[in-house]
Symmetry: C2
Subunit: 108 residues, 2 copies
DNA sequence: TCCTTTCATCGACGTTCTTCGATACAGCGA
DNA sequence: TCGCTGTATCGAAGAACGTCGATGAAAGGA
């Protein structure tokens, strides 16, 4: 279990401090994970349920199974999403704190 | 003056509706604008001041002037940033409502 | 044991992105 | 008018990305 690095706020207002280089990169990785329409849709779908079977995602999008798997990997590595395997099936769920921390990076 | 399209929430919780295709794409464009460390740093810098001269950005980063100009264009086209020209100099400022709407897309 | 199903990984292809030097353009001072 | 300075755009090179078919690995049923 990887711990989530703290995401300092990018903005807004005079209290926003200059970001160190690592923070810029970490934030860019997270935003990059959301920088694709399919991944936005996956996150949206995951947010509506407790967990979602990969098999369901595979039929929900008009993309090949390896492509969906690839997108899930990117979301996983960005920490936005989490998975469990039960028997043959894999289930993914959102990591709400990760979304929340991204939200926090956009100010508040 | 282009009006900002409304960004529906991606998440979180049961009230999150399935995103139409155009909304996925619009959101992906905005997140893509923040999917680069340099652009994150630019936004961060803009958020700390009312407006910033391009000349200042050019010296603040170890990147060529055309590269900075390119990143500013991407931020501009995503609606996150706004520019004015005064004489020879160009000044950029953040569009707080655009950031706020992105924040809103990450839930409330 | 063998076959089927589910998911992840690999390798490849075309597209998009980041970056740069060169160039164009506009404002200003001499 | 001429040259200088600050920005934007162009064109190209290399890296990263999205996508797929083929393959691999693990679980379950016959």
């Amino acid at each position: 279990m990887k711990t989530l690095p703290v995401l300092p706020p990018i903005c807004c207002g005079p209290e926003a401090l200059p970001l160190p280089v690592e923070a810029r990169e970490e934030l860019a990785v997270r935003f990059k994970a959301l920088a694709d329409p399919t991944r936005v849709a996956i996150v949206n779908r995951l947010s509506a349920a407790d967990e979602v079977c990969v098999c369901e995602l595979n039929t929900a999008f008009e993309l090949s199974q390896p492509t969906i798997s690839h997108h899930l990997k990117i979301l996983r590595e960005a920490g936005l999403v989490d998975s469990t395997r039960r028997g043959t099936w894999a289930y993914y769920r959102l990591v709400p704190e990760a979304i929340e921390s991204l939200r926090g990076a956009l100010g508040g």
